[in-house]
């Protein structure tokens, strides 16, 4: 009786001595309920037994503290050792009990009583004092976690209380006989856990070290080198203090992460992991949002707002989202995942923790991107949409898979539809005004530049067309198996463009001019394709070769239409009759030649060939045909004209003049060409 009574009693006394707060008052009354008499009654028989027949090391533990030196100055540390020994013997006792329970059930009831020495109560009191000291809310010069010794003392004590609780709750005899003690210990454990929970949150929220370049700048590579430089600098200048060379997002020092991990571990050990997780989730979510707001100027927008934005506004908005998103995927999300793994190691729920932290944000991003895909389609949006597509493809962590897939297919479909729009706009472009001088048509320019630019996204587009084409298209494309769907799309656009240009060439009444027009456009297209490796790769060499040979046909046509006629005047037929020259015919020939040439010169200097190479090819080929023929004609017939006035009248041009004049063709002169001729003559 006396022995057993002693526990709660002593404990009670200790309490009264030191009790300061109301909480303690509670504990006191709870710990010493009026009806613990029944316990005494039950355990009475065992008291002596356990006292006299201590069995294991219980005795050793019990005697020095409990009986011999009650008034020795006890500290948490000194008691800890004893408590540890007690705990290990308790757990031994418990194991034995388990072994026994199989064989002799009856005996168990009598044997399992376990004496709890009074220092346990003392330990709890001292621990409570410590907690009171820390969570009193008074301003302190240093906080507990700044003192490593205090940290380990506190956390170890928490561990001991948790272990004690576990053993007490799992030992039947303790449940039977020490319920007030269990209540008391549980109460203190709760207080400790609540304290840790608060500290955990405050540490999470307030111990972030803010590092200057925490965010990816617009140019990622630059950022990277910058960061290295900066951190090296820091290493030299500030390092002694924090000791961390590179504190990445989320910006806790190694020591802090370790502390957080230890707290989480202790809370888990005491069965308080849920609280810890919840605090973690809430704090991290809030911090992540705050970070995005501050570092990335990230603001949420509704789908409706996105759809109301002008393209100009949206065009500015998209890079911000993409940047934020990339930061999330390269920095923030991996940082969160790593942090969760570090603080809650070994569990299988870091993944889910991370998902809960990032879920809302992921939905936001996807919502925005879906909204962009929903805006009115226009060709100018293609590139931004592809940017987003790539961002989603490359940067989305392995989460929300279905959602990402869905957003991507929406964006992919939009991109494909933009190409269909382009097709349609080419088909329906039916402007009736021919471009002056047969120059490159704006539609060709626009289309080619567009395609060339889009081919900078070649790989993405190949992927988009492979993955998101609708069924009808695929069937249609089956016959062109050898090409990729995207290449087929480009070919189709080229063909349409070609057809459109051919129709437009009919607007020129002059056949040679329509040839020039076709050559101009064709050359422009080929040059664009050859000028960009990506589009060239898509279209392939065969296509380019076929295209070039088509161009040669236009060239031949042009040559025949314009210069064939002129060459006709240089023929010999009809100039000789019975071996004699027919002078009037000859004069007529010269006159006709001159007039026709002048006419050609006059009109074709206004024609436009911007491509220098094409221009010189044309001139060279004309010269190559005309000059020898003219020279030969002159050599053969020039002599029949009387030198002087007659020659001057009919031989308007020397071969060199013709050559010079040919070199003036296709300059796109709008000024009168006769002026040029006049100039030449002076």
């Amino acid at each position: 009786m006396e022995k057993n009574d002693k526990d709660p009693d002593d404990h009670h006394d200790d309490h009264n001595d030191k009790s300061s707060g109301e909480e303690k008052g509670d504990v006191v009354s709870d710990a010493h309920p009026p009806d613990d008499a029944h316990q005494d009654g039950i355990s009475k028989d065992n008291v002596d037994e356990s006292d006299q027949d201590p069995g294991d090391n219980v005795d050793k533990v019990d005697s020095p503290s409990g009986q011999e030196a009650p008034e020795i100055h006890q500290t948490l540390e000194s008691l800890s050792e004893e408590l540890d020994q007690l705990l290990s013997s308790l757990s031994l006792h418990q194991e034995e009990q388990h072994k026994d329970s199989n064989t002799k059930e009856k005996q168990e009831e009598e044997d399992d009583y376990f004496q709890i020495p009074q220092f346990v109560g003392k330990f709890l009191d001292l621990f409570e004092d410590k907690l009171t000291k820390h969570d009193s809310g008074e301003p302190k010069t240093t906080t507990w976690y700044q003192d490593p010794e205090e940290v380990s003392s506190l956390l170890d004590a928490v561990d001991r209380v948790s272990n004690l609780m576990k053993l007490l709750l799992n030992t039947k005899s303790c449940l039977d006989h020490h319920e007030p003690l269990i209540n008391h210990a549980g109460s203190i454990q709760q207080r400790a856990m609540a304290f840790l929970e608060d500290e955990f949150r405050i540490l999470l929220e307030e111990s972030v070290i803010i590092k200057e370049p925490s965010v990816v700048a617009d140019d990622q590579q630059d950022h990277h080198s910058d960061a290295v430089v900066v951190s090296q600098d820091q290493d030299q200048m500030v390092a002694p203090e924090c000791g961390d060379q590179e504190i990445e997002y989320p910006g806790y020092s190694e020591e802090m992460v370790t502390l957080l991990k230890n707290i989480a571990e202790k809370m888990k050990g005491g069965g308080y992991l849920w609280e810890c997780r919840e605090v973690y989730l809430v704090a991290r979510r809030n911090i992540l949002m705050r970070t995005l707001k501050q570092d990335c100027e990230f603001e949420k927008v509704s789908v409706e707002e996105v759809l109301k934005m002008s393209w100009g506004e949206l065009e500015r908005e998209i890079p911000i989202w993409n940047k934020t998103f990339k930061n999330c995927s390269s920095l923030f999300f991996p940082g969160e995942l790593k942090l969760a793994e570090k603080i809650f190691p070994g569990g299988d729920d870091e993944g889910s923790l991370f998902c809960i932290v990032t879920h809302g944000l992921a939905i936001q991003f996807l919502g925005f991107y879906e909204a962009v895909a929903m805006t009115k389609r226009s060709t100018e949006k293609l590139f931004k949409i592809l940017d987003i597509y790539e961002t989603l493809r490359d940067s989305f962590p392995a989460m929300e898979k279905n959602e990402v897939t869905s957003a991507r297919s929406r964006l992919g479909e939009t991109a494909i539809n933009i190409f269909l729009d382009l097709e349609n706009s080419i088909k329906s472009d039916s402007s009736k005004t021919p471009v002056p001088g047969g120059a490159v048509h704006p539609l060709t320019r626009y289309t080619m530049n567009y395609l060339k630019y889009s081919c900078e996204y070649k790989d993405t587009l190949e992927q988009v067309f492979k993955s998101h084409s609708t069924m009808e298209r695929e069937e249609e494309e089956e016959k062109e198996e050898e090409n990729s769907p995207f290449a087929n799309q480009l070919m189709r656009i080229m063909d349409l463009l070609d057809g459109n240009m051919e129709a437009k060439s009919k607007l020129y009444k002059d056949i040679p001019l329509s040839c020039i027009f076709m050559m101009n456009n064709g050359r422009y297209i080929v040059q664009k394709i050859k000028g960009s490796a990506e589009i060239h790769e898509v279209m392939g060499d065969t296509w380019c070769r076929r295209r070039s040979s088509e161009l040669r046909n236009y060239h031949k046509n042009y040559q025949r239409e314009t210069w064939g006629k002129l060459l006709g005047f240089l023929g010999h037929e009809g100039l000789m009759h019975n071996g004699k020259i027919v002078k009037p015919n000859l004069k007529e020939r010269f006159k006709s030649f001159n007039a026709t040439f002048d006419e050609i010169h006059k009109t074709q200097t206004t024609w436009v060939v911007n491509d220098e190479q094409l221009q010189s090819e044309l001139r060279v080929s004309i010269t190559a045909v005309m000059i020898p023929a003219y020279r030969a004609f002159m050599a053969r017939f020039g002599q029949y004209l009387d030198p002087g006035r007659q020659t001057e009248k009919y031989v308007k041009y020397q071969p060199e003049d013709i050559e010079d004049l040919i070199d003036e063709l296709f300059e796109g002169n709008t000024s009168s060409s006769s002026a040029a001729t006049a100039k030449r003559r002076t």
Partner: protein
Amino acid sequence: MRPAQDNQGSFLGRISIRRNQFTDVNTEQEQEDLELFQKHIADRFTELLSPPPPPQPPSDETNTAASVPATEQIMSVTWLRKLMDVFLCCEAEFKAILLMGRDPTQISKPPFDRLVPEMLDRSIKALDICTAVVNGIDSVRHYQRLAEIAVAALEQRPLGDGNVRRAKRALSNLLIALSIEDKENVSGGGRGGGSSAASKGGATIGQLKSSSWAVGRNWSAAKQIHAMTANLAPPRGNEAAGLPLPMFIMSTVTVFVMWVLTAAVPCQERAGLANHLPVPKHLNWAQSLVGIHEKIGDEWKKKEKKGSAGLMEEMTRMEKLGHSLVEFADGFHYPAEKEAAESAAAQVAEMAEICRRMEEELVPLQQQIREVFHRIVRSRAEILEVLEQAGKLSAPVV
């Protein structure tokens, strides 16, 4: 699931080609379709209003007071999931009526040149509500986890001061979360820290800052709902017999469903949500819908005065249980009085059951709402596509 849905567009396209070949049957067929559509709407909502009794209750141990099992009650999470199913069914059927076998030019002519854009505008607003509600469910999951802590603590035996205080702490956090949610929604402002000051007071896990998870600045769910109803009027005259009717019905269903979701879970800015929804009471198809609307509307008016995070049945009960368990905790003295402990144990069991149901159904509900989101996006795209075709067809041939 996804791929099947993706193919739907072209599948419908194919059928439409076939149906176009029998143009003569169309009008008659259409009337039939319309009537069937209304009947289906009526049936579905009637089932939601008063679910048929379960065929054969497997055991008699559950079912305490109500004849309708708690899971089936209006606004329970199970019921909300059913509502989502109903919405998806109605939507699919409506789209078939609107698009299948229809000459594209038909829906670009008056009055559709007005009705279709209005409908699409509503669907965009619905998208934002979906997003807000998905966020709201994230908050509910937070409540659930807090309640689980309380349950676990109060299930401990022997029940000691520590357990009770632990539970109280979690419950206080839960109740604060529930009340803050609503206050924040009314004021709409962001709150700064303040958490460390409150932290010593016992309760405060730190709250999810719902405003930072909202749809966008100045966005208001109530305003959006209101805007959705702005030009929503039943068709009159000869319009009432044709396509405008299912369009009106579907829009009404959409507004209604969004309204329910908004009332059910925490949602950004809901002041004035109780305002009148223009649901025509005399129409057959609408009667059950009106019934549900009135029930929920009454509840909302009651709750609006004292503030509520949401009318989801489980949340409401959670809140009630939370208050009474806090009361129990406040009056708790170790060792527990037998009577108080027993009644608390019953409440804890009920709370545990709520948590279990939330655990099972909140995530699926969230996924369903996302599916609704995607469905609306897709339908909108399909309708626009048809309109585009119509534009091409009616454009002068060059």
